[in-house]
């Protein structure tokens, strides 16, 4: 417990978290501080490329163990099932209609790669190892949640349009392609490849993450200001409870798979985090009736900061206690 508190305190004074706080504060105070759209996209491309590449290199270095395939399958299952839990919870805690509830549920089954990245940072500062292929698990968890949420929504009436555009949106969206592609590049080129570009993908990584979180703070703050009226106590409760449930599910899966402590933390983070890039785009295409302010504010304004500030230290402490790592 003491451990958890000191970890939480340590976590809160990292430049990464404080950058998010700065952005959030600036936006809530209505400062005109903004990051140009092209730069925000560039930083997200950089982070995806770097995290994918490093994951691939780590797999090349440590070899594939039997659990890789099983972990991917576990990720897919988690991603597909968590929306059902989220949907049920939303129907209990809030009065969202089934379309909006389904759209929100899709976000919580899927994952936030930035939360994942922040998790790896914490692990590194704690000296905890993790399986390199967790990046591939993250990629695998992006899409299944979308399909199961669309199924939930269509059950409630009104057939969803699953045309080829939507399939392409889901399967070939830029962030998945980049993450999987750079993972493959890292795997193929291995340690030699890393040596060539490590002063690009490793050295400045945390600094870029700071600026990216500054931007996320700004966007979240603007969203919270605009969505003030939308976020009821029920939604707020959901936004804090659901990540804990997702983390719990991730922990169970990790124990069944026999992952390392670090790997368990990351699977908890993946379960706990909610998408704010890929899923919102898919929902605009497939379920335009759903209100984007609800799912964006919830995912970016509530769950993301919760995971960043409190979730991460909790997941690390619990995983350590349970796995004895």
């Amino acid at each position: 417990m003491e451990n958890l508190l000191s970890l939480a305190a340590d976590n809160l004074v990292s430049p990464i978290i404080l950058s998010f706080v700065l952005g959030l504060t600036a936006a809530l105070a209505r400062s005109d501080l903004t990051i140009p759209e092209a730069i925000a996209k560039a930083m997200s491309i950089y982070l995806l490329f770097a995290i994918g590449f490093k994951g691939g290199v780590s797999v090349a270095a440590h070899g594939i163990d039997a659990t890789l395939g099983l972990s991917l399958i576990a990720g897919v299952i988690l991603s597909a099932l968590l929306p059902l839990v989220a949907f049920g919870l939303l129907r209990v805690l809030t009065n969202l209609d089934h379309v909006n509830a389904g759209a929100v549920a899709a976000h919580y089954g899927s994952i936030s790669i930035v939360t994942f990245v922040a998790g790896t940072s914490v692990l590194e500062s704690q000296g905890l190892m993790y399986e390199g292929y967790m990046v591939a698990v993250a990629a695998a968890m992006e899409a299944p949640a979308i399909l199961s949420a669309l199924w939930l929504i269509s059950r409630g009436g009104g057939a969803r349009r699953m045309d080829s555009d939507l399939w392409r949106e889901i399967a070939l969206n830029g962030s998945i392609v980049l993450l999987v592609g750079s993972f493959a590049i890292g795997w193929i080129t291995g340690e030699d490849g890393l040596a060539e570009i490590s002063s690009f993908v490793v050295a400045p990584f945390k600094g870029v993450l700071c600026l990216f979180l500054l931007d996320m703070g700004i966007v979240a703050g603007r969203g919270l200001r605009a969505g003030r009226g939308l976020i009821t106590m029920g939604l707020l409760g959901f936004g804090v409870l659901m990540p804990l449930i997702g983390a719990g599910a991730g922990l169970v899966a990790a124990l069944l798979l026999g992952l390392s402590t670090g790997g368990a933390v990351l699977l908890m983070v993946l379960g706990a985090s909610a998408s704010y890039i890929a899923v919102p785009a898919a929902m605009r295409v497939a379920v335009p009736e759903a209100n984007p302010s609800i799912y964006l504010t919830l995912s970016l304004g509530v769950t993301f900061p919760f995971n960043l500030a409190l979730g991460l230290p909790i997941y690390v402490s619990v995983a350590r206690a349970v796995t004895g790592g």
Binding site: T34, E37, V219, Y276, P280
Partner: protein
């Protein structure tokens, strides 16, 4: 200068369904259009701005389509299914063009 009557259709629509819209245009035989970026806006679904956004979920574009007057109805019917499901605005203006054979 010899000019000809035409219609200028300006469609402000979510960026994410841009290709759905242009596909509908092309299906209808409308192969000339120009796409402008949109910085932000406000409507019944609130105010939004492009800066800092990473997701393609928010963000709109403006599709401009200059056509011969007699093709207007076809165009509007072609794009209506896309517009019906997604937020957006259409305006049609009378205009004059040079070199009418291009439209």
């Amino acid at each position: 200068m010899q000019t000809h009557d035409a219609k200028r259709v300006e469609i402000t629509i979510e960026a994410i369904v841009k290709s759905r819209l242009t596909d509908a245009l092309v299906d209808q035989g409308v192969t000339g259009f120009t796409i402008l970026p949109v910085l932000g806006g406000s409507g019944r679904s609130g105010e939004w701005s492009r800066s800092g956004q990473v997701s393609r979920a928010s963000g709109m574009v403006q599709v401009i389509c200059i056509i011969r007057p007699d093709r207007l109805d076809g165009l509007l019917s072609a794009i209506l299914p896309v517009l019906d499901r997604h937020i957006g605005v259409v305006s049609v203006t009378d205009c004059q063009v040079l070199r009418a054979e291009r439209f």
